[in-house]
Symmetry: C2
Subunit: 367 residues, 2 copies
DNA sequence: TCACCGGACCGTAACGGTTCAGAGCCTCAC
DNA sequence: GTGAGGCTCTGAACCGTTACGGTCCGGTGA
C-alpha cells in the first residue's frame, strides 16, 4: 500500500503550470471547469499532476479566493465531547449532519474550553456559518460568533437574537401540558429538578432571585410552563422547591432527587426539565424504595431513546428534526434577509412513571 | 440583543491600517503579538477595529499564510450522521473530541456521500491532518486523504498503510479469547453474523470466496480469531455458516439471525462481530422463543453501553481511548517521521448470554 | 562625538489559488 | 473576402493575511 504524500513539499498549481508551459488559469480550469480547455490538454495537466504529486488545488487558498469554506461551524457551550454523551445532543447532531452531508458541507465542531474562556477557537474557524446549540444568552463564545461576518442559526437558545434564525420548540407549552397531566392526576405537592440556569456553579435550591436571573431561556420557559400549570390548580410556585444542577447527567439527577426528597419527603411528583435528570431521579426513587408511580411520579423532557425504554412520562421533542432544520436554515438561506423562526411541535408521552398519587397522599395534600 | 454583523462587508486588516495610518503589520501584531507594539497604539488599533466593525483577522487568510488550519478532519465511510447513531463510533468520537479540545483544535466531520462516490469533500477540507475511522482498504475517500499532504492517523482499519499512524486493538486475539470461552463451555455448532466484508451489497451468506477477498481488515481478523479458536477443538471452518449484512444496525442483526437460524436450527452459539448485531440476534432469539443462553448462546464485540445493560457476553475494547489516542497521535506528533502503531488491550466480558449448550445439544453435536 | 543597541514600526514578498476580460485563431455563413 | 462567433488559452488583478528582513530613532557607554 502506498504511503501518504506529506513527505515532500507538494507542488503548487503554479509550479505545475510552469512545468507544463501553460498558464495557471489553465491548470485551475483543468480542475474546476473542464469545459474551458480541450480534453487532451486537460489530460496532460492531470497526468502531470499525478506525476509530480500535485494534490489538487489547496482548499484553504481556494476558500480565501472564493470566500466559501465549505463547512458549517457548530458551537456548543459544553465541552466538545459532551455532544457525544448527551443523547438529545446526539440526536440533534445527527440531524444537522444529515443536512450537511446532503449539501456536501463539512461540519466543524468548534472546540470550546469549558474551564477558561477562550474565544480564539471561534475566530479560528474557517466556516461559512455557525449553528449554535443551546447556549446561554451571555455566552462569550456566542458573542464572538455574532461578531463573525457569517450567518448564524440558533437552536433552542438564546432566543430573540436579532438577525439570527432560530429553531426550537415551545418549551413552555410543552411543560404546561405535562403539568396539566400531573395536576389532572391529582398531584398537588411538586418538586422540580432543573438544569443549569445561569452562569456559575449552583448545585442546590434555585432561589427566587436566581430564578429571576435565568440566562438559559429554555430553562426559563420550562419552569414557566410548570408554574403556569400549577397555578391553574392553585398551587403557589413559592411552595415548589426547585433544585438546580450544574452538570447534566443521570448522576446529577439522582443526586438532586436525593437532595429534594430529603428536604421534602411529602412530594408526590418530581418534575425534571430533562430526561437525563429524570432517569437519575428514577434511580434515586428505586434506591429509596419508592414505588413509581404509586409513591412518586417522575417526569422528564426531551424524549430520548433511553427514556422511552424506561417508560418515562415525558415531553417528546423532535431533536433530529431540529438539527436537520437548523442545517437547512443555514445552508438553504436564499436571499432572505429577515430572520426566520421555526417552532416544532412537542408531544406529551404518558409513560409508566406518572400516575395518581396515593389516596392518603392526596388527602394529605388537602391540608 | 445586538444582531450579527454579516450585513456589511467587513473591514479588512488593510483598511483598518489605512484608517489609522499605520502599517498592516502593526494591525496584525496588535492581534497576534501584543509585545511587538506599544500598549497605547494597540489599544488604538483595537478601538478602531471595534468602531469599524473589523471582526479580527480572517481565519482563512490566516490559515493560508501560516499553513495551519487549526482543525482535524475526520473521515468515516458511512454517512456522516451514522457517526452519531453507532455507540461505538460515538465513543470513539468522544475521545477524539477530547483530544481536540485539549489541543484547541477543531474537528471537521468530512461529509461523504454514501451513495455516489464523491471525494471533493476530502479535497475541500481545510485541515491540518486527518483521522480515518474504520474504512475499507480500497475506500476512494481514503485514497484521496492519502494524496493530501497532511499527516494521517487511522483507527482500526485499514491496517499496514505505510507512513500512517494507526491505533486499534488486536481483534484476532480478542475474538480468539471469546471463541475459546465458547468452546470451553462445550459449544461445537456455531453460526456467525458479521458486518460488511467488502465493497458491494451482500446481504446473506458470505461465501468462501468472499471471505477470501475481505477488504475490512477488522472483519478479517475477527473472523480469523473465531476460526482459529474453533480449529483448536477441531471444528472445521467450512462447516460454520457466516451471514453478512451490509447495514450495521440492530435490525440487520435480527434479520441476519433469522436467516441463520432458519437454515441452521441446530446451532448452539451465534457469534456476532459487533454488539449491535448481537443485540439484534438476541431480539430474534426472543421472538423465536429461544432461551438465552440455555437454548442459544449469543456473543458480540465492542462492549458498548447497551450491551452491558443487556448482559451480553462480548469483548470490550476501549473505544474512547482509541479516539483520544488517535487525536494525540495526530496532534502531538513531534518531529517523528516513522509511523507509529498503538494496540490497545481488549477484555473478554462474560455476561448472561453465554452458557453451556443443553446436554442434548451437546450430545447432538457429537455426531 | 560616535559606534552600538534595543524597541517600535514598516515594506515587501509571499501563501496558493480564482476570476475576468480579452487575445489569438479557426470556422462558417453571407 | 470578411465579419461574427466559438473555442482555447493567457495575463494580471485580487483574496486577506503573516513572515521576514529591514529602517528609524532615542538612549547609552566610552
Amino acid at each position: 500500500m502506498p504511503g501518504p504524500s506529506h513527505v515532500r513539499r507538494p507542488a503548487t498549481l503554479a509550479s505545475l503550470a510552469a512545468e507544463l508551459g501553460v498558464s495557471r488559469t489553465t491548470v485551475s480550469n483543468a480542475y474546476n471547469r473542464p469545459d474551458q480547455l480541450s480534453a487532451p490538454l486537460r489530460e496532460r495537466v492531470l497526468e502531470a499532476a499525478r506525476r509530480l504529486g500535485y494534490p489538487g488545488p489547496d482548499p484553504v487558498a481556494r476558500s480565501l479566493r472564493t470566500r466559501k469554506a465549505g463547512a458549517v461551524g457548530l458551537l456548543l457551550t459544553e465541552a466538545l465531547s459532551y455532544a457525544f454523551r448527551d443523547p438529545a445532543a446526539t440526536g440533534f447532531l445527527e440531524g444537522l449532519a444529515l443536512a450537511c452531508e446532503q449539501a456536501n458541507q463539512g461540519l466543524l465542531l468548534v472546540p470550546v474550553s469549558p474551564d477558561h474562556v477562550d474565544v480564539t477557537a471561534v475566530h479560528q474557524a474557517g466556516v461559512d456559518g455557525f449553528v449554535v446549540y443551546s447556549v446561554r444568552e451571555d455566552d462569550p463564545h456566542f458573542m464572538a460568533v455574532l461578531e463573525r461576518p457569517v450567518p448564524t442559526v440558533v437552536c433552542d437558545q438564546p432566543t430573540g437574537v436579532e438577525g439570527v434564525d432560530r429553531v426550537g420548540v415551545d418549551d413552555r407549552a410543552g411543560m404546561l401540558g405535562l403539568a396539566r397531566h400531573l395536576t389532572g392526576l391529582g398531584h398537588r405537592r411538586f418538586g422540580v429538578i432543573c438544569m443549569r440556569l445561569a452562569a456559575g456553579h449552583n448545585d442546590g435550591p434555585a432561589s427566587a432571585q436566581r430564578q429571576e436571573s435565568i440566562t438559559y431561556p429554555v430553562q426559563r420557559d420550562r419552569l414557566g410552563g410548570i408554574r403556569d400549570g400549577l397555578a391553574e390548580v392553585g398551587v403557589d410556585w413559592a411552595d415548589v422547591p426547585v433544585i438546580e444542577r450544574f452538570e447534566h447527567s443521570v448522576e446529577a439527577g439522582r443526586d438532586a432527587a436525593a437532595e429534594l426528597m430529603a428536604a421534602h419527603a411529602d412530594l408526590t411528583a418530581v418534575v425534571c426539565t430533562s430526561d437525563i435528570l429524570a432517569l437519575g431521579a428514577l434511580q434515586h426513587a428505586a434506591e429509596r424504595g419508592l414505588s413509581v408511580p404509586d409513591d412518586l411520579s417522575v417526569t422528564g423532557f426531551d424524549g430520548v431513546p433511553e427514556a422511552g425504554r424506561a417508560g418515562l412520562t415525558t415531553v417528546n421533542q423532535p431533536v433530529l428534526e431540529k438539527g436537520r432544520i437548523a442545517g437547512e436554515l443555514l445552508l438553504q438561506r436564499g436571499d432572505r434577509n429577515r430572520s426566520r423562526r421555526v417552532t416544532l411541535p412537542t408531544e406529551l408521552v404518558v409513560g409508566t412513571t406518572s400516575g395518581p398519587p396515593r389516596s392518603d397522599q392526596r388527602f394529605f395534600s388537602g391540608w
